[in-house]
Amino acid sequence: MDFSLSEEQQMLKTSARDFLETECPEDVVRKVEDEDKAYSPELWKKIADLGWLGLVYPEEYDGSEGSVMDLAVLFEELGRAMCPCPFLSTVVLCGLPILEAGSDAQKKDMLPKIVNGDLILSLAMTEPEACWDGKGWDAEGITVKATADGDNYVIDGTKLFVWDATAADQFLVVARTKDGGAAEDGITLFLVDAKDPKVSCTVLRTTVGDKRQAEVVFDKVKVPKANMVGPLNGGWAPLYKALKVGMILISAEMVGAGEHATEMSVDYAKTRIQFDMPIGINQWVQEHCVWGFANVEGTRTVVFEAAWMLSEGMPCDFEVSMAKARANEAISEAFWRAHQVLAGVGFTTQDGVLPLYTKRGLCQKIYLGDTDFHLEKVCQAMEKWPEPEKPQGKALGIFDVPEDVQVPVWDVWRDQTKGKLW
């Protein structure tokens, strides 16, 4: 057990905070909300120059062979800065399945471009119907079909809540290629050019008010076989592996955001004077601050535990779902607590930072599985738990005493054979 960051991770964290404080301050976040592409190309280029986009890739693709843990450290800072960029979509949700299952040609061509910031990808997965019943992020929710047609596949259907769609050069489309059998078995991944005239993108008006999510309609789009990522009907395994990393990273983002929101409310509680006293002197205000702090700290450890297990390649569906569910609930509560403390300055959108966090928090909470989705996964894992072990000694039959049997009055019973010490 070791809860400290390595020296490199500590350096990454510090330099990321410094960089983002200068390059991605609040006004940049606000400005990007109005951008059609929902990101700032200048900032993206600078991020690529820092090497962050190659953090988890092997050296042969210009990466630096880091781990999911390193990414989690970085994402805490990205979340704190609310950095608006297609990092998660490009590097993790689309890039990792390509690294895992893509052909040599795809890897050689695409991964270095991703690392250098020259290629932006977007995952087209969730569908209108599946988003209703918690199946949005499960294989069962994939109904958009890809049908073989000579050397091509034809993709036809609508994907909804597609992140970074307007920024993307290509989509990684999750499509069904076989009906019947287990839901996971008939899924194939395809790369689709975003400029294809038969692909249309409509930005969604969301709580955040930015243009990051869209409805993407694939109207009988023809995709050459060579664009398939991984084997036919074998797309789910590499995709789900990447989704798990995504779930942890978005949780890490939420932790970073929740931490800053709590810091802001504590600072405010110390400096805001009412009735000639700082408001933080009131124990109800302290209660909000303490819960915010406890929620953030408690969540961070479960998130990093799952990140560690992912880095070590251990089976960890249970831990990942615990972390995302916890982050969803605890960080939302941290924001709520911060709103109670900051009150007026917490809800004005023109100059308040907290609304930026809270609104993003709602989207992050839903993204890659909401609380119900993950609680169900946790419960499914619990159903497979073994029974607790029983000891093997001979039964004594003394434990069935009614507990209201009263004990006789106190008597001196000490083993007197050793004599008094004093």
Binding site: M1, D2, S4, M69, V266, A269, K270, M277, G280, I281, V285, Q286, C289, V290, F293, A294, E297, G298, T301, V302, E305, W308, E312, E319, M322, A325, R326, E376, V378, C379, M382, E383, W385, E387, P388, K390, P391, Q392, G393, K394, A395, L396, I398, F399, V401, P402, E403, D404, V405, Q406, V407, P408, V409, W410, V412, W413, R414, D415, L421, W422
Partner: protein
């Protein structure tokens, strides 16, 4: 970061697991409070066997009867104890008095008392709390007046846990009337059969019992003093830290959840197993998550101890906070799974899970030792987050109440 254990640590865990697997009877129920002599003798017997192997206080040095385990290894031992539902009759001696004597006792005291504790032959009472000194620990009224080589103790202690048959008492008493109050307290460790000591039992709603301890002209030698005169409060605060670094809580909670999952799979309502109820599924998952958060919080404290040897005010950990937060919700949710059966106690033929959920619920109403939830929150607010605190003398209502009391 590293969330696993080394191979040697896992080996050690298995060795400890094996000890209890063999020693405990198959029908053991660690949740049953040791309400009678038979039960306490049973646990005392196991305690002595564990003590003989050094498992009771594994973190203590060999000369004190321990095994010289590292902090992490002690954490593992605590997990194993909790897994088997072991309740040491002398947990007070092991976790409060022993560490206190380690830190502040004379060589003579260490040589004589520590092996007594680690061997498991004794039961200690920690006599700190008084009717007017609960959270306000420094407000001790029990007096120890110097008389030559002796101190004479007079006063009353209350809510003293640890069973009903103590061998030793670990007492905090006032030796000087100082301002502030906490600069005049001193610790003593002496046998419970010293003339003038009497004990009265206080049954509690959790089924176990607490005690009142009375001192009437109890004469103790000055060698029974632990640490320095008038430094008792500081000594106690430092030893209290040990109470907050227990890795066992999450393990026993997880074990209870395992039994509960099994129960929910087998128990049917209207022909359907409980586990198919969406509300129950959701709560089971939430409890598993809370338990994991608690487990990691405890290990984090354990790791900090290992790194820094002792905790500073800024290292205040959240273990106690999460224990109390979970104690509020989990037992109540679990009872709700049972419907009308929730109210049936151990002993009723209709009671589910041997009435353990009812017992757990009643027990957790009393999780106030070593600081109530409110105190923990105040400590986090003040020491960790640096929020201001209102001085009593600025508040006219408080001042009036104090005046009236006098």
């Amino acid at each position: 970061m590293e969330f696993g254990f080394t191979e040697e640590q896992e080996k050690l865990r298995e060795e400890l697991m094996e000890f209890f697997r063999k020693e405990l009877p198959e029908d053991v129920d660690g949740g049953v409070p040791a309400v009678n002599k038979e039960l306490q003798d049973f646990w005392l017997d196991i305690q002595k066997k564990a003590g003989a192997k050094g498992y009771l206080a594994p973190g203590w040095p060999k000369e004190s009867g321990g095994l010289g385990y590292s902090h992490t290894e002690v954490g593992i031992a605590n997990e194993v104890n909790a897994y088997w539902g072991v309740s040491w009759p002398d947990s007070i001696g092991l976790h409060i008095c022993g560490p206190g004597i380690h830190l502040f006792g004379t060589d003579e005291q260490k040589k004589r008392l520590l092996p007594e504790i680690s061997s498991g032959r004794n039961v200690w009472f920690e006599c700190f709390t008084e009717p007017d000194a609960g959270t306000d620990e420094a407000n001790q009224q029990t007096r120890a007046v110097k008389d030559g080589d002796y101190y004479v103790l007079n006063g009353q202690k209350i809510y003293i846990t640890g069973g009903f048959r103590p061998d030793w008492l670990y007492v905090e008493a006032r030796t000087a009337d100082t301002i502030p109050k906490h600069r005049g307290l001193t610790l003593f460790a002496f046998p419970a059969d010293t003339p003038g000591v009497s004990i009265k039992t206080l049954p509690c709603m959790g089924g176990y019992r607490a005690n009142e301890v009375f001192f009437d002209d109890v004469r103790v030698h000055k060698d029974t003093m632990v640490g320095q005169e008038n430094q008792g409060f500081y000594h106690v605060m430092q030893t209290f830290e040990f109470e907050r670094s227990n890795t066992g809580g999450a393990v026993s909670a997880r074990r209870r959840l395992q039994s509960l999952v099994k129960f929910c799979k087998e128990e049917k309502r209207n022909g359907k197993p409980l586990i198919e109820n969406p509300e129950i599924r959701k709560k089971l998952a939430l409890m598993a998550i809370d338990t994991e958060v608690l487990r990691l919080a405890a290990w984090r404290t354990c790791w900090r101890f290992a790194e820094r040897k002792r905790l500073g005010p800024l290292d205040f950990d959240l273990t106690g906070f999460f224990v109390r937060a979970n104690a509020e919700t989990h037992p109540t949710w679990q009872l709700e799974f049972l419907g009308d059966y929730a109210q049936l106690r151990h002993g009723s033929k209709w009671a589910k899970l041997k009435g353990s959920l009812d017992r757990q619920w009643r027990m957790t109403r009393s999780y106030h030792y070593a600081g109530t939830t409110e105190v923990m929150k105040l400590v986090i607010a003040g020491r960790v987050l640096g929020l201001p605190r209102i001085p009593a003398k600025l508040n006219p209502t408080i001042m009036q109440a104090l005046q009236e009391k006098k």
